[in-house]
């Protein structure tokens, strides 16, 4: 479905990605693991159009989308839920969800999608008129995911959804991601919490210094001594 080939991204003199290649097939959860600064977030930003690659190709269903704008990518069904959640803090939960469906011009369809998100994440329904910034960290992450879902993604890209959350909440978030995937949405999951990510992912890629150094089915990665040592702890 999604294919990155030899992707380079530079921030001034810094090369954030150096020949990154990876694929995501329809229906998968693919984990992208690695340390801070390995290029995980940059890879997502390149796909969603926030940064323009200096070399390489991105294709979606075989069609080249390298350098496409964020609205074009959202319209094509690729939705990026950014690191740090980036909830619109003084807007209500409902307004945040409505913004997730900004490109949905049919009002009735937008309401149906928001209702589906409320079904999936009932806490958001309870807090629909509260300002996004007043939610707990876990609720904000759920809102960020729900906001992404309203756009109707075929591919949902999540950047560090576990960041700053208590272990129990991390589990709940990962379960929600698995449910979303089971309902037919492909997921590209960036995580520093490799353990949590590999529990739900089908395959994983390990990034180091802007390139993939290791890729394998999730279970194999979770058992790989190099991964255990570097990312899973003893």
């Amino acid at each position: 479905m999604l294919e990155l080939t030899d992707l380079d991204v530079r921030y001034g003199a810094v090369r954030a990605l150096r020949g990154l290649s990876l694929t995501v097939a329809e229906g998968e959860i693919v984990a992208l693991l690695g340390n801070n600064g390995a290029g995980k977030s940059t890879a997502l930003a390149a796909v969603s159009g926030l940064v323009r690659p200096s070399a390489g190709r991105i294709t979606l269903d075989g069609r080249e989308v390298t350098g496409a704008s964020p609205p074009a990518m959202v319209a094509a069904g690729v939705v990026h839920v950014p690191e740090g959640r980036r909830i619109f803090s003084t807007l209500t939960v409902r307004e945040n969800l409505q913004l997730g469906g900004y490109l949905v011009r049919d009002g009735a369809e937008l309401e149906r999608r928001i209702a589906r998100v409320y079904d999936l994440l009932p806490r958001l329904a309870e807090r629909r008129d509260q300002q996004g910034g007043t939610l707990s960290g876990g609720e904000q992450q759920m809102l960020a995911i729900g906001r992404g879902l309203v756009a109707g993604p075929r591919l949902l890209m999540l950047d560090e959804p576990s960041m700053g959350l208590a272990p129990l909440i991390v589990t709940a978030v990962m379960d929600v991601i698995r449910d979303i995937n089971a309902a037919g949405t492909t997921v590209l999951l960036v995580e520093q919490n490799a353990k949590a990510a590999l529990r739900i992912a089908h395959r994983g890629h390990v990034l180091d210094q802007g390139a993939v150094t290791l890729h394998a089915p999730a279970a194999e990665l979770a058992a790989d001594p190099r991964v255990i040592e570097a990312y899973l702890g003893a």
């Binding site: 926030l50 964020p70 609205p71 619109f88 807007l91 307004e95 913004l99 900004y102 906001r147 756009a151």
Partner: protein
């Protein structure tokens, strides 16, 4: 007393109309658009030109003519505001804020002296002077024309407020104000929404320009300078970036001036207004309703 209140509210509604554009643009891209007052001037001149072209209708149906011209002028200044953004500000997206500020001052001069070159340096006299019957309301002398102008100003402000609080476009504007990157990830075309923000703000300033022309009767190419600073003051008093706050700030500034002038004399009016600006910048830089700004800074 009631006369002072009425005078203050009347002038204040003009300030509020102009201040809204200042405030919206600041809210969305954190730019103090110093050329904003000049769009008000441009509105007055474009209204002047259109009234001249309408000719006979102006004499027989002056209020109707003024309303027609008002709508057409809003379109003209709105498009001028979009053009200004496209030419002067968009190329500087992501540049340091000081560069934008300096550009805004330059754009202001360009509009002022461009108008002087096109229309001449001498003041023009508006073809329409709304002659109105004077009414006595609670001891204040109120003219019908003032009532009409205030009603138009209030209607425009209510419409804007509803647009911003409950439409898809308004939500997009507020989203960009809070987090432009996240807004892009929602699929919002940020440049297009910023252009529309300039259109709305400039259209309101243009409306105020025509209204001022019809009310005060005389226009000149520098008339936007002081009102621009007054609108900035109003926005700061109310809380720049906050729409209800800005409306409140406009009305409040009108009242402050009205009472201040009564107390100190007319020649102190501007001193008093800008004294208030300095006071607010020192004591409460976020303005009366401007909590949102603190959060952003």
């Amino acid at each position: 007393m009631s006369q002072l209140v009425w005078n203050g509210l009347f002038v204040g509604s003009f300030y509020a109309l102009v201040a809204l554009g200042y405030s919206m643009v600041y809210g969305v891209i954190k730019l103090l658009n110093f050329a904003h007052g000049d769009l008000y001037m441009l509105g007055a001149f474009s209204g002047f030109a259109m009234l001249g072209a309408l000719g006979g209708l102006v004499r027989s149906q002056s209020l109707l003519a003024l309303l027609l011209v008002l709508v057409a002028t809003m379109l003209v200044t709105g498009l001028a505001g979009m053009a200004l953004e496209r030419v002067a500000y968009r190329p500087l997206r992501g540049a340091p804020r000081l560069s934008l500020l300096i550009t805004a001052v330059g754009a202001s001069f360009a509009l002022e002296y461009g108008t002087r070159a096109a229309a001449g340096a001498d003041p023009r006299v508006y073809q329409v002077r709304l002659g109105g019957t004077t009414l006595h309301v609670l001891g204040a002398r109120v003219t019908v024309q003032q009532l009409v102008l205030v009603a138009i100003a209030v209607a425009l402000m209510v419409a804007l407020h509803r647009l911003v609080t409950s439409s898809r476009q308004g939500r997009a504007m507020r989203a960009i104000a809070l987090d432009p990157v996240a807004a892009r990830l929602m699929g919002i075309d940020v440049d297009a929404v910023i252009a529309r923000t300039f259109f709305l703000g400039s259209a309101l300033a243009g409306a105020a320009g025509v209204m001022a022309g019809g009310y005060y009767g005389k226009i000149d190419f520098l008339m936007g300078f002081i009102i621009g600073l007054k609108a900035f003051t109003a926005a700061v008093i109310g809380g720049i970036g906050n729409i209800p706050g800005t409306m409140l700030g406009g009305l409040l500034l009108g009242l402050l001036e009205s009472f201040g002038t009564d107390l100190l004399g007319g020649e102190w009016r501007d001193v008093f207004a800008f004294g208030c600006l300095i006071l607010f910048l020192t004591v409460r830089p976020t303005g009366l309703l401007g909590e949102r700004v603190t959060e952003r800074v």
